[in-house]
């Protein structure tokens, strides 16, 4: 899901920088207002956790690979705006140091993985778990569903960015200049893998860790902590 350099044309990755820069600024302002110093190590842990989870490539035998992100879990624990910052930092380090995701595509990757995923998964979690006590079963089920929805929506927005490229840019010979496959190839391919496998892994990781926090530190799951 980490879009490399060259897969998106300038009009796509440029627009996404234009979208993400103000959102990063808004996130910083919200986090400045709501984050306590004692939550900072937790935020660092969240970013590091997401970084490591993305190193676990899960194979489809003979096919491609994918991975979980942990973005919805981070959002459940520190709130979606802090998660936007934490996962963005993980993605920036992955791009700069390890070439995982392009630098022209940093904003695009942050849009999909650090914005769409934590926001959608977090609100799905809040919706399903509303009124449930922190230790109730509905909490971890809501978290698992949130993880599943979040990763799949991120895969979908990634696929849409890919699939728009042949429509947006063609060379003089009529061939695509950037990502070569159209929407009708990119969307089903990405959706299929994430609906059937990677989303299920994300759901399991998110649900199990929420169960862990229910048993060790349920206060962190209080709505006020969001």
């Amino acid at each position: 899901m980490h879009i490399p350099d060259g897969y998106l044309g300038p009009q796509t990755y440029g627009v996404l920088y234009g979208v993400m820069v103000p959102l990063w600024a808004i996130a910083s302002r919200i986090v400045r207002r709501t984050l306590h110093q004692r939550q900072v190590p937790f935020l660092a842990l969240g970013a590091a956790f997401s970084f490591v989870v993305m190193m676990f490539n899960i194979p489809i035998p003979g096919g491609s690979t994918g991975h979980a992100v942990g973005g919805v879990l981070v959002a459940i624990l520190v709130g979606p705006w802090a998660a936007l910052i934490a996962v963005s930092i993980a993605l920036v380090i992955q791009a700069l140091l390890f070439g995982d995701g392009g630098i022209t595509a940093i904003a695009a990757n942050c849009f999909n993985i650090a914005l769409v995923m934590p926001m959608s998964g977090y609100w799905m979690y809040r919706l399903i778990s509303s009124g449930a006590t922190p230790t109730s079963r509905r909490r971890w089920i809501a978290a698992a569903i949130g993880g599943y929805i979040g990763l799949n929506l991120a895969a979908l927005t990634t696929a849409v960015m890919f699939g728009l490229q042949p429509l947006l840019s063609k060379g003089p010979d009529g061939r695509p200049l950037y990502f070569p496959y159209p929407l009708e190839v990119a969307v089903p391919a990405m959706a299929f893998q994430h609906l059937l496998l990677f989303g299920v892994i994300e759901a399991a990781v998110t649900g199990l860790l929420v169960i862990y926090f229910q048993r060790t530190e349920p206060s962190i799951l209080e709505p006020a902590g969001g």
Binding site: M1, I3, P4, D5, G6, Y7, S28, V31, R32, R33, L35, H36, Q37, Q39, P41, F42, L43, A44, L45, A47, A48, F49, F51, V52, V53, M55, F56, N57, I58, P59, P61, G62, S64, T65, G66, H67, I85, I89, I93, A95, L96, L97, F98, G99, G102, I103, F162, S169, G171, R175, P176, L177, Y178, F179, P180, A186, M190, T216, E217, I220
Partner: protein, 112 residues
Amino acid sequence: MKNTKNLWWGLIFLILLSPLGLILPELVKSGPAWGEWSLEEIEKMVGFIPQGLKKLADLWPAPLPEYNLKGMEGKGLIHSSLGYILSGFLGVCVVVGVMLLLGKCLGKKDLP
């Protein structure tokens, strides 16, 4: 959050396990993630290399491509697993360092 010590240990444990993300795909002969192909792979799949893609592909010389250390890649799974773990530790240290610094600037002072 009272105590994050167990979580830091959990994180270290995950880093030590991370080569699974390298070994398992190798074992079942999986390729790269969908939409993260090399130029050669794209050429094989669609029959040509898109010109714009070619121009931008090698824009950034990442110091540790593919989470591996120089001299540790291409020497079998043991070497590359070790490189993967070291890359994981390095990446986590940088991420945590940046986050703590950023948190210091952004987080508000706690009341005593």
